[in-house]
Every structure is written in C-alpha cells, then in structure tokens.
C-alpha cells in the first residue's frame, strides 16, 4: 500500500464538553472509496468535518500529505480537500451557476472574476453532474437531489484530490441516490479521486464502497472491506437490532431486520 494521503492518529473531539470522538486512528490512501457507517449520533458527521478540515480536533495528529492540517493555508488545503455539507441552506438568491463557480475560489486572487479557464472547468463539472441544463435557475428553486448534484459540481470545480461528503444520499429517493453514487464512482475510477462519504443505506454501501468504517459511540468499531465489516454480529452489536444477511444478484450484502412487527 502506498503512503497514506490522510493520516489521523488518536483523534478526539468534543462539542462543549460532550465527547463525540475518542482516540480515532485512520489511514486513508489515494484512490480509495470509503463509506463511513454507523447509527445516528455515532460521530460520522464530526469525523468527516475533521477529515475535511472544517473542524479542528481537540487532540491527536491530523496530517495531509505528511503535513499537519493546521500548517496548510486554507486556500492551499481547499485545492486538495473538499467537504460537502449534508444540506444546503441558501439565504440569498444565487443562481446554480454562481454556486458552482464558487468552487473556483481557492484559485482566484482577491477581487477578481472567474476567467475563461475557470468557466471551462465549471462547465465540465456541470456536465458530469448533469446540472448544466438548469445552470441559470435559482439554487433555491431546484429539488433536493438537484441541489446535491450542484454542490458536487462545485466540489469538482475545486479540483480536489479528496472529496468528502456528509450523507449525500440520505434525503433522496433511490433514483437520485444511485445517480449521485454513480457520479462519485466515476470520479473515483476515472480520475483516481479519493472519495469518503457517510451513508445510512448499508446495501448501497456494500455495493459502492471498497472500504467501510463502522463507527460506534465515537470509536472505530470495524474498519475493512464490506465483507469484513458487514457481519451479522457487528451490525447487531452496533445497531442493537436482530438482522440477517441476504445477498443480491451481484453477491453484495443486504442487511435485513429479522423481526418486522413491533411489540
């Protein structure tokens, strides 16, 4: 395995004295497609924000390409790592194209406009995410799935090595979920982009991810291939429900609850 692109050692984090993550250690290599799974409140979002550099850990070492996160300048880090939020409240009536153009921010000097090259990059990003057709519409006028694709287009325009996404598929129907995962998979396969995303759907996680990290109460419970992580005993322990493992046509794991009726 090559030198890890992101290295986290003994990371701990608390929100106002409430501990969220305890001594987490993860190495991430270039080109991986990693799913972060775990129950609500297990610390997925926080871990992703730390990986994305939008939160700073209380203790532990966090390095990107061998250098501590805090030693990278904001703009410099933004050229390598991008983090996409779960939802996208927008107070002001920015157009879709303007939101994607914001992805070019780390490459521009103060008070300049995007040049022809930036516009070309943004157009490509919008084509890949099939958002170009509504480029001139208001961001607040489009659907949740479309918004998510627009934000991913903005992240692509940032030309990062690592893309981190906080539950990009959770609020979407199955068609949009697959659409978004396909876009990410393509980026990963065509350009070797490292993708790290939080997910709730364990079947889709087993289908799309090469590696899964299962969090439980702010700690890494399991870290490995979907086959290693998605075992009956692991899921039952962490989620506290009785499950059975089923296989889909491609042999991928489906987690199904055993008891359907409620007491």
């Amino acid at each position: 395995m090559s030198q890890p692109i992101i290295k986290a050692e003994n990371i701990s984090f608390s929100y106002n004295l409430t501990p969220v993550l305890h001594s987490i250690s993860i190495n991430i290599s270039k080109g991986e497609f990693i799913g972060i799974i775990g129950p609500n409140g297990s610390g997925k979002s926080t871990l992703l924000k730390l990986l994305g550099g939008v939160l700073t850990a209380d203790s532990g070492n966090f390095s990107f390409n061998g250098t501590d996160y805090r030693e990278h300048k904001r703009k410099q880090l933004a050229r390598s790592i991008t983090w996409v939020a779960q939802d996208h409240p927008m107070v002001f009536p920015f157009k879709v194209s303007e939101v994607v153009l914001m992805g070019r921010h780390p490459y521009l000097s103060p008070f300049t406009f995007e040049g022809e090259e930036d516009i070309e990059i943004v157009k490509n990003a919008m084509e890949r995410t099939q958002t170009l057709q509504f480029a001139q519409r208001g961001f607040n006028e489009i659907s949740g799935g479309e918004k998510q694709r627009v934000m991913i287009a903005g992240a692509i325009a940032q030309e990062p090595d690592v893309m981190i996404l906080d539950e990009p598929t959770s609020a979407l129907d199955i068609k949009y979920q697959i659409q978004i995962l396909n876009i990410l998979k393509q980026l990963n396969e065509d350009e070797g982009m490292t993708v790290i995303l939080a997910m709730h759907d364990l079947h889709l996680a087993s289908k799309f991810c090469d590696r899964l990290i299962l969090l439980d109460h702010g700690q890494v419970f399991q870290d490995g291939s979907p086959e290693e992580v998605l075992r009956k005993e692991h899921i039952e322990k962490v989620y506290g429900i009785e499950v059975q493992i089923i296989r889909d046509q491609g042999g991928k794991i489906i987690i199904s609850p055993v008891t359907l009726c409620t007491q």
């Binding site: 939008v54 933004a78 939020a85 002001f92 406009f113």
Partner: protein, 338 residues
C-alpha cells in the same frame, strides 16, 4: 453558455449604469429646493462670491448637504449588505441590529464629555461612534449566534431590539443630564439630519469611508461564500475568522463614521441592498459597488424630498427613510419564502 457564466463582461455596463444614475442625481438635485436659484448666476464669476446669493445657497447650503447624503447613503448601504452576508440573514442592517444606536451612544458620549477635538486630523466623535458600533455588533453577534453558528431571524431581531433599547436608554440618560442647548442638539441630531455640514467635515470622513469600501470590495468573494455557510466557506478555502473580523470591523467603521456626522438614519442599509439584489443578484462583487452608487442616489433623493415637501420647513431625512423603511420591513417579514 460562456457568455452567461462570465460576469466580468457585464460588470462595467452594470456599474456604469448605476454610476450614471448617481451623476444625474448629483446634477439635478442642487437645483431643487424651496428657493429657486439661477444656475447661470450661481456659476458666474462676475459677482463676488460673498454677494452672490444664488452661489451661496448652492455651494454653501445644498452641495455639501448633497455630498453628505451621498457618503451616508453609500456607507450605510454597503454596511447593510455586509452585515446581511456575515449573519446570513437578509433582515440585518445597521439600524435593525442596533449598530446605529451603538454608534449614536458612542458619539453622544464623546460630545457630552466635551471630547470633540481632533487627533492627527481625525475627529474623536467618529472614532467614538465607530467603537460604539463595534461594541454593538459584537454584542448582537454573541447574543444571536446559536450553537451551530446560525443566526435565526427571531433571535437576531430580538437581540437587535434589545441592543437598540439599551443604547437608547443610555443616550436618554446622558440627554437628561445635559443642559438645554446641548439637549436640543442631541435630539435634533438623533432624528438624523444632513443639514449641519461643511466641506471640512466632509473631507474628514472621506478617508475612513474609502478605506471601508476598498477593504470590503477586497473580501467580497469571501463574503459571498460566508453567506452560504461557515463550514462550506471554509471548505472552499475561505479564512472565515479573518473574513468575519475584517467584515464586522469595516462595516462598523462605515456605520460609525457616518452616524457621527448625520445621526442614526434608519433603514437605508436595509432597503438599498434588497433593491440592488433584485436588480443585479446577490454577488457582492457587483452588489457592493452598485449599492455605493444607488445608496448615495437614494439618500440624496430622500433628502431632497425632506427639504422640499413642506418648504420652507425642512424635516430631518431620517423621518423620510423611516416612513419608507417601516412598511418595507413589514413586507420583508411577511413575504412568501421560496
């Protein structure tokens, strides 16, 4: 497609049009007033200036007042737009946040303590007003911010109202302790007026206003990103702490400087950014310069109404902007959100 994505192409045209509006306003409004003046006579060199009544009205009464209206309108509009972005709430403005009354308190303290002397060419009153404005925004910012870093409308407005009441009470207290002449001056000034000014005052506030404008234009793209969320902005490479500090500092400088001279003129900083946003969109690279010219024109026109509507009596311009701003604010609160 490239054409519609590329903003730079429209930039000069859009800003040029707003500049044109400003120039036209500047040329027309000195002619309007309770006394008719003869332009030919006012600009004539044949009559000595002291004896030329038309020139006196034009250049000693109207023109400085119009320039002060321009500076005040522009500064309050830009400050409003910046507060709105940093707080991610389009109801934020110097007046609604209590920043204007904080500035007023600073200025009133400086005036009543007899501190109005000049250091290095800068009067202490604008500095006191700037500190008051900065104190107010710091207070409102820390009161209204939720744990997740958002600024919900209800909380923000309540914090603004609280700050307003508090500063108003302090001003009233000082007012109560002051003698009759001082008291009259304070009341008249608090109503917001542009009539007591001269070229020296205008020149003394120019540097601070220019510094404010230039610095804010410099961080305008960072401010755009801040308005989409702190963490998203970080992930796009914005140094959010620095942007927040510079933004609040400069918006307070603009507010404090003009409030020190013109009094707390309300609602300009709320109305102008909204109108401009409807015309040029929310991108601050366009919105800020457009707000400078439109805000200047807007307050000049409001002041022209103020000095002519019940001529020969002139009413403080703050009354006109509040009469326009009140209903506008209600409309903003009640409008359907998409």
């Amino acid at each position: 497609m490239n054409h519609t994505l590329n903003k730079q192409k429209h930039y000069v045209t859009i800003i040029g049009l707003f500049f044109l509006l400003f120039v036209v306003t500047l040329l027309i409004t000195p002619m309007i007033g309770p006394t008719d003046i003869n332009l030919g006579k006012a600009l004539s060199n044949d009559i000595p200036f002291k004896e030329n009544v038309d020139a006196n009205i034009m250049f000693l009464a109207r023109v400085p007042r119009i320039f002060l209206a321009a500076l005040t309108g522009a500064a309050l509009s830009v400050a409003g737009a910046v507060f709105q972005s940093l707080l991610r709430n389009d109801l934020a403005a110097p007046f609604t946040l209590g920043v204007s009354s904080g500035a007023a308190l600073g200025a009133v303290i400086a005036i009543s303590l007899g501190l109005s002397y000049t250091i290095f060419g800068i009067s202490t009153v604008p500095i006191a007003a700037f500190l008051g404005a900065l104190g107010a925004i710091t207070l409102v910012f820390s009161l209204a911010r939720t744990r997740t870093g958002e600024f919900p409308t209800t909380v923000l407005l309540l914090a603004g109202v609280t700050a307003n009441f508090f500063f108003a009470a302090m001003v009233m207290f000082i007012h109560y302790l002051s003698d009759f002449t001082q008291s009259f001056r304070i009341v008249r000034w608090l109503m917001g007026g542009l009539d007591i000014t001269d070229y020296k005052t205008l020149l003394s506030i120019c540097p601070m206003i220019v510094i404010g404008f230039v610095t804010l234009m410099f961080i305008s793209r960072d401010l755009n990103l801040m308005s989409t969320g702190i963490q998203s902005a970080m992930s796009r490479g914005v140094d959010t702490v620095k942007t927040q500090k510079i933004g609040f500092l400069m918006a307070s400088l603009l507010t404090g400087t003009v409030v020190a001279v013109s009094g707390p003129i309300g609602f300009v900083g709320l109305i102008v950014p909204h109108i401009i946003r409807l015309i040029v969109g929310p991108d601050l690279r366009l919105l800020l310069p457009a707000s400078i010219f439109f805000g200047a024109s807007f307050l000049i026109l409001c002041d022209t109404v103020a000095r002519t509507i019940i001529a020969p009596t002139e009413i403080p311009v703050g009354i006109i902007t509040a009469m326009l701003g009140g209903p506008f604010f209600v409309w903003l609160l009640k409008r359907p959100k998409t």
